[in-house]
Symmetry: C2
Subunit: 456 residues, 2 copies
Amino acid sequence: MSNKPIPYKIYLEEDEMPKAWYNVRADMKNKPAPLIDPATMEPITLEALSKVFCEELAKQELDDTTPYIPIPQEILDFYKMYRPAPLVRAYCLEKKLGTPAKIYYKFEGNNTSGSHKLNSAIAQAYYAKQQGLKGVTTETGAGQWGTALSMACAYLDLDCKVYMVKCSYEQKPFRREVMRTYGANVTPSPSMETEVGRRINAEFPGTTGSLGCAISEAVEAASNDPGYRYVLGSVMNQVLLHQSIIGLETKAALDKYDIKADIIIGCAGGGSNLGGLVSPFAGEMLRGEANYKLIAVEPASCPSLTRGSYVYDYCDTGKICPLQKMYTLGSGFIPASSHAGGLRYHGMSSVVSQLYHDGLMEARTVEQTSVFAAAQEFAKVEGILPAPESSHAIRVAIDEALKCKETGEEKTIVFGLTGTGYFDMYAYQRFNDGQMGDYIPSDEEIATSLAKTPKF
Amino acid sequence: MSNKPIPYKIYLEEDEMPKAWYNVRADMKNKPAPLIDPATMEPITLEALSKVFCEELAKQELDDTTPYIPIPQEILDFYKMYRPAPLVRAYCLEKKLGTPAKIYYKFEGNNTSGSHKLNSAIAQAYYAKQQGLKGVTTETGAGQWGTALSMACAYLDLDCKVYMVKCSYEQKPFRREVMRTYGANVTPSPSMETEVGRRINAEFPGTTGSLGCAISEAVEAASNDPGYRYVLGSVMNQVLLHQSIIGLETKAALDKYDIKADIIIGCAGGGSNLGGLVSPFAGEMLRGEANYKLIAVEPASCPSLTRGSYVYDYCDTGKICPLQKMYTLGSGFIPASSHAGGLRYHGMSSVVSQLYHDGLMEARTVEQTSVFAAAQEFAKVEGILPAPESSHAIRVAIDEALKCKETGEEKTIVFGLTGTGYFDMYAYQRFNDGQMGDYIPSDEEIATSLAKTPKF
């Protein structure tokens, strides 16, 4: 350990910022299983994948051998607007807990999208622009991804069409207005603009929509116009690749002060933040250079790693995207309504799934009332009001720090603080009013859903 | 100009952060006129002022000779949690405008209160704690000040009682929940908890309150318990003193890269942000060391500097706080409902008023639709979604940059970006829907209000 005093916040200098993304698949001996084309049920080709995604992104999706992929200059310039994200030493939280542990968090919330989603949104928008496309389509539930994509498209002067799950569109008008302010076209889903939307509206009059339906509308809208492509904010390999900027910056900041992490913790929904954060550390483990305790934290209401199966499954309810082998609860699994919308996903990115399957990572589940208690404790001493999703990682970081208090160990704990909770105040209100509940799905519920995964 | 490349964001190192606040009054030959005690109509004594404010704050309020006041270590530690605030080079905005001007903004929105208010909130809460008080009371309208004070009190484990104007309490439930999450007690005003609240409720059944009434309730609540003091988020000398951290950091960041500002722009409500930003620069002008063009930007709907009178007036509708000599529209002036709640104040801090009166500062008014157009233009290329208040400064910064485009001058423009607009999306919605209007008060309206200022 160096004698340099460690500041509250470690900001890298611009010339210390990563210039390439890290592709952890290149260092994995057990590669994630190939994507399957839903049309042929065979491993998907670059050609077929390029009909869904931009060509360059399709290449990144399939590339499991190149360890470092240079970040184009225009994306580096955009990153400079809101990055480097600080690595913060949680001195105040440590003091409050009375723990000998040293706690750090990588804060990704210092941008208007309020989360790490912007890291991949700008990359996907950039490649769409490079390919000469007019615009992109996507779906959004809680709204972080849609906001991030709107910002990226506004910067690049690209059309952005967002299908927003109707209940969110109505309950989160402010998220919607942020996207509109950045010039995005936001449509409540199901709409009457697409065939699938009209069919669902006819079949279920008055429905408030679902993420699965919004994906289907976004894909249909993109496929009807050759100037558009559909883009996705999590789960895919390309997204984890872009999100590796989180882990690379974290590692550079730790190295700058000769800090060696013992435990690295991230919340896990589709896996984009977690995968991005742990990738460079997992890479060191895979190359036999270091050892870390990596912990994925998932909500007890949607426990894909801890209670799902490791099988091929659809990524979307509409069964349009390529299939992935992943820890899944079944693509028809409907997680209980919770206040961490970003973690309500039935499956886990195939990279994270494989790392977990190979024993490089642990997984924990936490219940939402204990998550919000941790969020409040953290906010009071560290100032930042965290997103419900991020607070899953806070919960486990606090739990690990309290273990150190018992044992007297001075472990170094790093966790990902993916975003802020400014648009989640209804959830905090439920918590403040003592009206928040917890839900754990039954074994039968999970088994019934898993019985419907495709057979090979 | 140095040859060091100027990064997108200049962050000071921790050891470069200011260790003392700067008190511009010490360098003013024409000092702001003394505060007047409303009970005696004579200049107020330290003793009388200490009944309203904490002793140390009362001393700071009256001290117009000490140029530098050391920042206590505990406040410095708190500042490290969210400061230094970055000085951002608006490369993308410059490119979009095609201007030869160099534009910088000091961004104060990277904290959960979403604004610069936290700089003074922590100082006031700290001195209350030092004095052994149990807690503080205050009022809040738009909610930034109440949020900042809640955060500071949570950190110091101090009670925080906020009287929130009832219409805001109902229309901005999320602001309220942020304060509650930080443990504050938030009461809609007028309430039935205070004498003045009960009287107003009886007199005006169903009233949705006013800032004046909320101040009166907060002052009454504090005066009923010797363990409490009332605290205020703007206008007062002590607040400008604390906010000088904005200008000091800005100057340190400019100096670090040998940048000389030509124009410095801030939005002006009660004057706390503006005064804090310009203080060190005005100090250089007062000492004859440099020259700058300082511009105060106020809303056309509430033009105290440009259309008010420079006379003694009450700071609050309840006429309880000391009187100040200031540019005012009259303490009974009710600004038209606008979406920049933080700028809807009838008067201007006496320091800013005196600097303006002595010709060290210019003032401009802008209308809100043009302000929101500037906000949107800024957001699309710089990423940050600005608060409506801050966007007043953006408007004038863009106007000045466009003038440079005409003349070819490479001026360096610095403006204060005081905060983010995440809790102002209703205003953006009005703008996005083309439903926002402008309002300029008539000369008669202002004259009628000014006729009621106290006579000496």
